[in-house]
């Protein structure tokens, strides 16, 4: 478990934190790429509950990988919780490394929205960022559905299809 912290330094004044506490995101998207063509994508609601997860890659899926990915992404929440309040950027690239895997996080603004995180091994930062942004859009559309209870699991197959399409496009 050789891990390097990202380039982020957790230094922000208290006042700054307080000021931002109203704008910072409740939504994290975790995406996890395991092999070059494999990525695991997770949306974590507030309370750190995963509300959507998908293996968004074309690589052969290993059964045991799911457990490992979940574990890595879950542990990365420790860092997200440290950094989310000290950074002003929404996209926290490569904020955690796990051997060859990298966790990228997209922290959305607002109080009812989740945090987006991505674990991947590619260095295609722009692609990942675009992916996050589009997924964020999708999520907001889901949220507009009056039958969707914020914070509950996303079971929409349409959402799933869209996310996978986006993953193919950008990752």
């Amino acid at each position: 478990m050789e891990r390097e912290r990202g380039t982020l330094s957790p230094q922000a004044s208290t006042a700054d934190k307080i000021a931002r506490s109203h704008t910072i995101v409740e939504v994290r998207v975790l995406a996890c790429k395991v092999m070059a063509t494999t990525a695991c994508f997770i949306i974590v609601s507030r309370n750190d509950i995963p509300i959507y997860e998908a293996e968004v890659g074309s690589a052969m899926k290993k059964e045991e990988a799911a457990h490992q990915h979940q574990f890595i992404l879950h542990a990365a929440l420790d860092i997200v919780q440290d950094l989310a309040w000290t950074m002003s950027a929404m996209f926290l690239k490569a904020m955690d490394r796990f051997n060859d895997l990298v966790v990228s996080v997209y922290v959305t603004a607002g109080h009812i929205l989740p945090i987006l995180m991505l674990l991947h091994d590619s260095r295609n930062e722009d692609g990942i960022k675009s992916f996050f942004q589009e997924v964020h859009e999708l999520y907001i559309k889901i949220l507009l559905n009056p039958l969707y209870l914020p914070g509950s699991r996303i079971t929409s197959s349409h959402f799933d299809t869209k996310v996978r399409a986006l993953a193919r496009k950008y990752l």
Binding site: M1, I49, E63, E64, A66, Q70, F71, D78, L149
Partner: protein, 1259 residues
């Protein structure tokens, strides 16, 4: 210059503080030495750092050395430029002189010689030995010192100070100290400048071939060392940082192939905190140093300075980064290094950093953020160390004992195998060890997952070790065997257990048998692993163990790898360390992942208590954050612990949690196993039956749609939807539900029990609950409780109408929908009398009751009717019920019915006849929701006869007389729980009210008696006949029967109107017989035509076709005339106008006989006599009667005879006085008519004044 390295090291180790030279000119040092050395180390010395900014050094150590000391004398001059840092930083010249001449001739030239060297920072201390009492000597010393000052001090700089040996001037010492520090500062500045210049010169040559890193290093380190001596650690650290950068730059230039190092014995032990681990001279290579040692040396120097600066946190941070980057460097050179040196180095390096930073970290005043960061770094270090340690242990065959958790798997399976140039080969004589290893592998207890959970075990290796090791054996020809091995092994590849599948019993024996296939016992016993034969797993382990023993020099590490127990002890130590540190740093997720590993090991060692505690922590976090995959992986372990510990409550709740996890995480078979465990425990004899919370498993909700609405006091049936998360049907002993009033939380809730013991199917069930009457309010579902076997369970889980989704934590925030509304008590039904006007007394009459349900069904209602006193129900009659129409609607029909003289001709759509039984009737079902009228016949009984009244003096009849009450009780509601009671007043009356008056008294003594009949009912009364039975004293005229002319009949009296009949009667004689009636009675035969909806009507009869005439009787009271005057007494006026006292006055009464007193019984005696007795009634105080007061006068018995009675009397007092009255005692008052009547009072004047009464006293 490279050959300076060795002396440089010597010098550096020999000198550790700044040197101040003492030029003891006058042999004074022994006497002042003590005082000088007391000033050391200097407090708050102000020095300049490299950027020429003043820095206050708290404690600056220094050393005084005499110039005659060999340490200063024996130096070669050429060394000085490089090793300048060791030269004195100040020179103190100690002099004394008591003679001016001597100073001028001897001392001054000598001093001039000493101080002529400009490079020295010097100053003179003049020591005065003169005793203060010796004035002469003191004066002289002063003079000499003054001279000294003139000669050596300049305006710019004071270079002299004076020490009185016998004085106690503290000023001197401060002065001395400041002078010394000033000198040191100046020297330091100059030397820094010098070194910088030198370094700059060298740096310029960096890309020239002549460049020599060693020289650069010596200069740079000299400077750094000088800063360190001066306690300017920051500057020193910066020098080392620059040095490191510079070194990395040289190392990374791929010009020349350099030796890396790390091949010496003991190199596996990281020396990153020990700068003197190896002398630099040993690691020199060409013009530079070996990277392996030198980078550790640099880091050691840096960390030493950081510790001096009290920054252990930074040491940890730099150390972690250094270990990571150095580990990568090691990986680059791995094929040149001993087997697994990299792993061993990382382990020792991490432990070294952890230990030293922990010992230097006092946890003092640091910001919480920094503290967290520190613990986090330590946790990272521990974690890194732990992984490498596990990798080593795996290589030597302890892998089968490792927990295949996601954390371990993720860490290890993504960590590549070591890549030695040649994989170690087991020595031929290690066959016994190979056996032992094989045994371990075979005996490894693949702890079957609890509940027979079948899972593919997670891998602990990036690829099969068997394949990797054999592939890396240089000697093994890439031939069929390895190909075969690859293809065969790919079947189990990724199963995670180099040949031993830990979790799947079915494939458990495969790998070993496979390895036998390849090697075979024969082959094996032929000992030496031939070059062509691939190694077996156990051989790989043995070979690795041997290689590691060669590599690792750290005894501690070796020991912890020697046996399984030692390995587990160390493993536990590292895991606990990492977990603790992560928990301290609030990285709970990292910490919890390690807690799980601790738990696994505790479990393995049978320490179930600790294991359960740790597992609980893990499960709590995963469950709290809803990471079900991870939870599903741990929870069975926790359940197993609890089962072993006999913690039934915990075990049950774990089973329930397992069941409530997402369906896809466990197969149906596994879920059934969970359920059967729950059921088994529930039906077993539990010592302490525990309540179980199944909120996540069994959820419930009210039915969709509006809530059940009940009236106050009504029971009802509530149906509730219950979702069962059990995979199979589950039979419950009981099931109950509490209802919580939304408006009143304080009130205790009562559970409502389901009547039968339900069997819950998987998924949706509908349960009906019988509700007892509830208080008014709105209710939501509270808690579901129930019993499985002996086990009581409860669930708070509301479901939003779908299958239970335990992910959805927000469902708890959902406002719960009321399932039941109980209305406040309100009138549910109203019963009023249908008519308001009076009914006929003593006749059977219909009484109508309007029964009006108010949005409430009266199905099955029973009406109890209880007539009050003087009222009876005609039970022979049927009771009629019909639907109700308002009066306005009925009016045309009523009019018609009256016209037709029907009781009621209203035709309603529904009507029915009911039978009254035992005072009760049951309302028909059709009447349950509509307003109906209930008619039942009653008869009010009144024995008294109606009384007529005089029209002149009308007497009102009391209404109460005709009032009768009917008590009603309506029992209704689904469970006959509602009761409506009311007492209804019904007014009865006689049809007519009769009054009489005498219209005229005729001259012939006849009387015209008018009988006025006032109708009392709202119905037309037809009078067919009427007659009067007269009382004694009255007779009908003409001896008739007293009937009016019959042609007038029938008379019709409209409602509330009056009619009159005239009867002519006259006074008759009194008979004085007892049996003669004393009251007259009016008899009437009549009929009534009215509608029962309005009021009085034709009496109910058994056969309605026959019209019956009714008889009405009313008493009339006729009074004979009261007055019958026989005598008239008239008062004659006074003769004079005024009466005066003493004046005679005659009073006259005229008595006249009006008629004979024949008929007066009392006067029968006097009738025969003509005498009339009279009497004057007078007050003798007022009047004096002249004559007789009482006497008889003659009065003829003839009618019209008259006599005047005269009485003379004198008034005695003046004023208004009552005059005398004439009374006739023998005659009844009723027979006397006073006409005109005498006055009541007369005015008597006082007597006129008369002298005759005034008799003089003298006369």
């Amino acid at each position: 210059m490279a050959n300076y390295l060795s002396p440089f090291q010597t010098i550096k180790s020999a000198c550790d503080r700044l040197v101040i030279a003492v030029e003891d000119v006058s042999d004074l040092w022994p006497s002042v030495k003590e005082g000088f050395e007391q000033r050391l180390p200097f407090q708050k010395a102000c020095l300049n750092n490299k950027t020429r900014n003043p820095v206050f050094v708290e404690q600056l150590p220094a050393e005084f050395i005499l110039t005659t000391d060999p340490r200063l004398r024996s130096r070669f001059p050429q060394e000085q430029s490089v090793f300048w840092f060791r030269e004195p930083y100040a020179t103190v010249v100690l002099v004394t002189c008591e003679d001016l001449e001597e100073f001028k001739t001897i001392l001054k030239p000598r001093l001039k010689l000493i101080v002529q060297n400009d490079e020295k920072e010097w100053f003179i201390v003049f020591v005065s030995k003169a005793h203060p009492s010796n004035d002469q000597a003191t004066k002289m010393a002063k003079k000499v010192y003054a001279k000294l000052e003139v000669d050596f001090s300049s305006k710019k700089r004071e270079r002299c100070c004076k020490l009185d040996l016998h004085g106690t001037e503290s000023i001197f010492w401060e002065d001395l100290e400041s002078k010394m520090v000033e000198s040191i500062r100046n020297t330091l500045d100059r030397r820094v400048q010098f070194y910088e210049e030198e370094i700059r010169k060298l740096s310029e040559q960096r890309f020239l071939p002549v460049w020599n890193f060693c020289n650069f290093f010596i200069l740079k380190e000299s400077l750094a060392f000088m800063f360190e001596m001066a306690h300017l650690h920051e500057d020193s650290l910066r020098e080392y940082d620059e040095l490191e950068l510079c070194y990395l730059e040289t190392v990374n230039t791929p010009v020349r192939q350099r030796e890396f190092g790390g091949l010496d014995h003991g190199d596996d032990q990281a020396a990153l905190l020990n700068p003197v681990f190896k002398p630099l001279t040993q690691i020199i290579q060409d013009d530079s140093f070996r990277e392996f040692e030198f980078r550790q040396y640099l880091f050691a120097c840096q960390s030493k300075l950081l510790f001096k600066l009290s920054r252990p946190v930074e040491v940890a941070a730099r150390g972690y980064a250094f270990i990571i980057s150095f580990s990568k460097t090691l990986a680059l050179h791995e094929n040149a290094l001993p087997f697994c040196l990299r792993e061993a180095w990382v382990i020792t390096a991490c432990l070294a950093v952890i230990n030293s930073t922990s010992s230097h970290y006092d946890g003092g005043v640091v910001a919480p953020d920094v503290e967290k960061e520190f613990y986090r770094l330590q946790g990272d270090l521990y974690s890194l160390c732990r992984i490498k340690f596990m990798r080593l242990a795996y290589l030597i065959g302890y892998g089968v004992e490792m927990e295949r958790s996601p954390a371990n798997s993720a860490s290890l399976s993504m960590l590549p195998w070591p890549r030695p140039a040649v994989w170690p080969v087991s020595s031929p004589d290690a066959s016994s060890e190979v056996f032992a290893k094989e045994k371990i592998i075979l005996q490894a207890n693949p702890g079957a997952k609890h509940f027979d959970i079948q899972r593919k075990p997670l891998p602990l290796e990036p690829s099969s070790l068997l394949r990797e090791a054999n592939r890396r054996r240089a000697s093994l020809s890439i031939g069929n065997v390895s190909e075969l091995l690859d293809s065969r092994h790919s079947v189990t590849d990724g199963s995670g257990a180099d040949g031993v599948s830990k979790f799947s019993p079915s494939s458990k024996t495969n790998p070993s048998s496979m390895s036998r296939n390849f090697s075979g016992p024969v082959n094996f016993e032929s000992s030496s692993p031939s070059l062509d034969r691939p190694m077996r797993l156990s051989e790989i382990h043995v070979a690795a163990e041997h290689a590691l023993k060669r590599t690792i020099s750290d005894l501690d590490l070796l020991k912890s790898l020697s046996t399984l127990q030692d390995f587990e002890q160390k493993y536990m130590e590292l895991t606990k360390g990492a977990a603790d540190k992560y928990h301290n740093s609030c990285w709970k997720r990292h910490g919890v992942a390690l807690d799980r590993e601790i738990a696994a090991l505790c479990f393995k060692h049978g320490n179930f208590d600790l294991a359960a505690k740790s597992y609980e922590k893990v499960c709590a976090l995963y469950a709290g954050e809803g990471w079900q995959d991870l939870l599903a992986e741990v929870l069975p372990n926790l359940a197993e612990c609890q089962k072993i510990l006999n913690d039934q409550a915990g075990y049950l709740s774990s089973c329930v949690r397992l069941l409530s996890l997402d369906n896809v995480l466990f197969s149906t078979k596994e879920r059934r196993a969970f359920q059967s465990e729950v059921v088994r425990l529930a039906h077993s004899e539990m010592k302490h039956p525990v309540p179980l919370n199944v909120s996540s498993l069994i959820t419930f909700a009210g039915n969709p749609g509006p809530p059940l609405e009940l009236s106050d006091g009504d029971p009802g049936t509530l149906s509730v939807t219950v979702w069962s998360g059990f995979p199979d049907d589950i039979a419950l002993e009981s099931l109950s539900m509490t209802l919580v009033a939304t408006n009143n939380v304080d009130e205790g809730v009562e559970a409502i029990k389901c009547s039968d013991a339900p069997v819950l199917k998987p998924g949706r069930n509908t349960v009906t609950l019988a509700l007892p009457p509830q208080k008014p309010g709105s209710y939501v579902l509270g808690v579901l409780t129930g019993q499985i076997g002996h086990l009581r369970f409860r669930s708070h889980g509301f479901s939003k109408g779908g299958p239970p989704d335990s992910d959805d934590f927000m469902s708890f925030e959902k406002p719960t929908k009321p399932v039941l509304k109980v209305f406040k008590p309100r009138p549910l039904v109203d019963i009023v009398a249908a008519i308001s006007s009076a009914l006929l007394m003593n006749e059977p009459q219909w009484v109508g009751l309007i029964v009006k349900p108010m949005n409430y069904s009266l199905r099955g209602a029973i009406l109890h009717i209880d007539p009050g006193p003087e009222l009876m129900i005609e039970e022979s009659q049927m009771i009629e019920i019909e639907d109700y129409m308002s009066v306005m609607e009925r009016m045309p029909q009523i009019t018609e019915s009256i016209a037709l003289e029907n009781v009621s001709s209203i035709s309603t759509e529904k009507s029915e006849q009911l039978l009254l039984g035992n005072g009760k009737i049951a309302l028909p079902d059709w009447a349950s929701d509509i307003t109906t009228v209930l008619w039942f016949p009653v008869r009010a009984i009144d024995d008294r006869m109606a009384r007529g009244t005089s029209a002149v003096y009308p007497q009102r009849q009391s209404v109460v007389d005709g009032m009768r009450t009917i008590a009603l009780k309506l029992v209704f509601g689904a469970f006959h729980n509602q009761i409506f009671e009311r007492t209804i007043a019904v007014h009865f009356t006689n049809p007519l009210h009769v009054s009489t008056r005498v219209v005229d008294k005729c001259n012939d003594g006849n009387l015209l008696l008018q009988v006025i009949m006032h109708s009392q009912v709202k119905a037309s009364i037809h009078i067919y006949d009427a007659w009067i039975d007269l009382q004694d004293g009255f007779v009908h005229i003409g001896k008739g029967d007293g009937r009016p002319i019959s042609s007038f009949f029938p008379v019709v009296i409209s409602p509330s109107s009056r009619a009159a009949i005239l009867f002519s009667i006259r006074l008759g004689s009194m008979t004085n017989e007892d049996e003669v009636p004393t009251e007259s009675i009016l008899n009437m035969r009549y009929g009534v035509s009215g509608d029962r909806n309005v009021g009085a009507h034709t009496p109910v009869s058994a056969n309605p076709g026959v019209e019956r005439e009714l008889l009405f009787k009313s008493t009339l009271i006729l009074q004979r005339p009261v007055l019958d005057p026989c005598l008239a007494v008239g008062f004659l006026p006074f003769s004079s106008d005024c009466l005066k006292v003493g004046q005679l006055v005659s009073m006259q009464w005229r008595v006249e006989r009006l008629k004979d007193l024949v008929e007066s019984p009392r006067s029968t005696l006097n009738v025969l006599q003509d005498e009339l007795l009279y009497e004057i009634n007078v007050n003798p105080d007022n009047w004096m009667i002249a004559g007789r007061k009482r006497g008889h006068v003659f009065l003829s018995t003839m009618q019209g005879s008259r006599v005047v009675i005269t009485v003379t009397c004198v008034p005695l007092i003046s004023g208004y006085v009552r005059p005398p009255q004439l009374g006739l005692p023998d005659v009844d008052d009723a027979n006397i008519s006073y006409n005109p009547a005498g006055p009541h009072l007369v005015c008597v004047l006082p007597p006129t004044l008369s002298s005759s009464f005034c008799v003089p006293a003298a006369a």
